[in-house]
Amino acid sequence: MNFRKIIPLLAAVVLLLGVIGGCSSKSGGSNGKTVIEIGSQSPLSGGSATLGDAIRLGAELAIDDQQAAFAKKGFTIKLKDLDDQGDPKKGVANAQILASDKNVLALVGHLNSGVAIPSSEVYEKNNLAMVSPATTATVVTDRGLKTVNRICARDDFQGPAGANYAVKTLKAKKIFIIQDKTAYGSGLAEQFRDQAKKLGADIVGYEGITVGEKDFNGVISQAMTKKPDLIYFGGVYAEGGLIIKQARQKGFTGPIMGGDGLDSSSTVQIAGDAVKGVYLTSVAGDVSKTEKGQAFAKKYKEKFGKNVESYSAYGYDAAGVILKGLMNAINDNDGKKPSREQVMKAIRAVQDYDGVTTKVSFDNKGDNKFAKVYIYNFEQAKYPPVQKAEISQ
């Protein structure tokens, strides 16, 4: 009789068990050494998980590489990786978790500027140093926080660099701009627009789209009537890939340009063949250009079974900078475990760190003096695209 009542209950129980089973906890011994944890926050699930996962794996590889050096001093370094889901609320909640864990002395963090900005307020209160591999919004470091550093370039450098290339090299005269209304997308699009105007290009449209939608035909129809030479998109690949695809379907043959948000293998996956002729500016360099980078890509592939993404090497270098700062702090502290404040100062003081993809010297705001912007072009429908130009500050 009661069988029918039991079915929903059973369903709920099975679901609950599934959820609990999914959250298996990690544990590992520290064999008598002092544990130091490096946090990592990036989107491991969600629309930009490809990029976020690359950052985490890069950081993991860096820690593995230097484990032996720290073991000699009597320390074990562990990675505490959290998923910020690309969501500011989740980022701040995770920041509290990291801040309350006394073993966490610094973190590699944040792909999205929108997440990094509120989370860094928490880090600042707790003297927890953050080194970001990827947040490009100007306001991230412009607030002058002593804990916030980044090794990539800023939007007020990336956007204009893209505009210079579009107007001077690609000879675009009429440009149609689409942006995704996020802090990142609209910030980048504005920087691009202002510089392009300055160079004398005609901005024939500046339109917004909604993140999460799939149909952008309306905006693209509007763009097509204006007959632009170039379409610029400020946003991330989930929408960017579709805009590229739908614009090509409507017969747009000119170049389409975007920022580092399109710098992912998923752009190619989504857009398919339409991706040919797409240009993008990225703050991440092509690792396959240097010997060091090739060795890194090989090691990465061996360890994780995945190809390097644009931000893999940046995750590696961000963690590398942290570890260098940490080592300096340990040495300054007579081989004892340093405080967060000491680590924070040591990281900011890092000069001429030579990573796999970029050199790092922080200025007094935490920006990297050696950050560069790279221009890429998809000549074939495959990732990575071909590097066309390299622009220094």
Binding site: R4, K5, I7, P8, A11, L15, G22, L44, S45, G46, G47, A49, T50, D53, K181, G205, Y206, E207, G208, I209, T210, G212, E213, K214, D215, F216, N217, G218, V219, S221, Q222, M224, T225, A238, G241, L242, K245, Q249, K250, G251, S266, Q269, I270, G272
Partner: protein, 330 residues
């Protein structure tokens, strides 16, 4: 200004129609369940999404077995859409069985069922997301492109005010399949015994049960049909846009629900009309809003524009456009 809008019109109509028919079929799922249970089934948008993913799974399996190259694309597509529709239909029946029927038996307030449907919606989203990202950690699934033959309507030669319009083969597929679905549903509800039973249950559940109609079975059939249509539309969506993720059901579900309200909720033909109208309005706004307002409002306000129209309609006709014209609710 008018010249600009006119030039664009053929293309806007084509794109708007594609989006509109998708809204229309999903709206039917909302309106059928509302008609029969007076329940707004918020999980329906995610049933649509699950259908898209099921279609993707079937498509990938068939690709793995080499069917895609061996068979004409149209037959592969028909197999995919039928399997996905049946699977989502059964999912819909399962949801009704597990989540709504126990509540109904206990005479729980309607609000409880509504909250339950929101819960189901979250469960579906996260379950699909979990499965989709199991392998790669990336839940955006890109389907192999089908029907990408490009058509060009040379309307500019016939009527020089218009620009030429282009569309892909998938547009025709979406349009034809949805029209077939809409017409056969209309025939089913109005001409068959089951349809009559559904209309009877919608009018008065207790009296219908006195007339030897098995009310629970009719409700199951309603959920099956609504969900199967939603799932089939999910497959169409995947074919048309190429990319799906577990959250496509949310925005689209809300808009389809709006379309159902616009047409008069509970009325199937109203939902069809409301969906097509909403799609056209939205596409029109996205293409022309900044031209109309001289750049003061960009394409990002397209939803605002569409919803203002909705509010205006509801002020003057609170029962929706078709709310009174047809008495029956299903």
């Amino acid at each position: 200004m008018l010249a600009h809008i006119l030039q664009n019109l053929p293309q806007v109509l084509i794109d708007g129609l594609t989006l509109g028919v998708v809204y229309a079929v999903v709206a039917i799922g909302y309106t059928m369940v509302y008609g029969i249970l007076e329940l707004i089934n918020f999980a329906h948008g995610d049933v649509f999404m699950t259908g898209a993913f099921m279609g993707a799974v079937v498509l990938f399996i068939m690709m793995g077995l080499g069917f895609l190259s061996a068979m004409p694309a149209l037959i592969v597509f028909l197999i995919v859409i039928v399997i996905a529709a049946i699977a989502t239909g059964l999912l819909g029946v399962g949801i009704e069985r597990v989540a709504y029927r126990p509540l109904r038996r206990k005479n729980a307030p309607k609000l409880i069922a509504l909250i339950t449907s929101i819960g189901i919606s979250f469960v579906l989203e996260d379950a699909v997301r979990f499965i989709a990202e199991l392998k790669t950690g990336n839940y955006i699934v890109t389907a192999p492109s089908m029907f990408n033959h490009k058509f060009n309507i040379d309307i500019h030669h016939v009527i020089p005010y218009f620009n030429n319009a282009t569309f892909q083969g998938s547009f025709l597929v979406v349009l034809i399949v949805t029209i077939v679905m809409l017409v056969s549903l209309d025939l089913f509800v109005n001409k068959t015994k089951w349809g009559m039973a559904m209309r009877a249950v919608a009018q008065d559940r207790d009296t219908a049960s006195l007339m030897t109609i098995n009310v629970n079975r009719v409700i199951s059939v309603t959920f099956f049909i609504g969900s199967a249509l939603g799932g089939a539309t999910g497959v169409l969506f995947m074919i048309q846009y190429g990319t799906i993720d577990p959250y496509i059901g949310f925005i689209l579900g809300i808009k389809a629900f709006t379309a159902a309200v616009l047409g008069g909720i509970g009325n199937i033909r109203g939902a069809m009309f409301g969906g097509v109208m909403l799609g056209l309005l939205e596409m029109f706004a996205a293409a022309n809003l900044s031209i109309i307002t001289h750049g003061a409002m960009g394409a990002e306000y397209k939803d605002v524009f569409a919803f203002i129209i909705l509010i205006l309609v509801l002020i003057f006709k609170p029962e929706g456009l078709f709310g009174k014209a047809v008495v029956e609710k299903v």
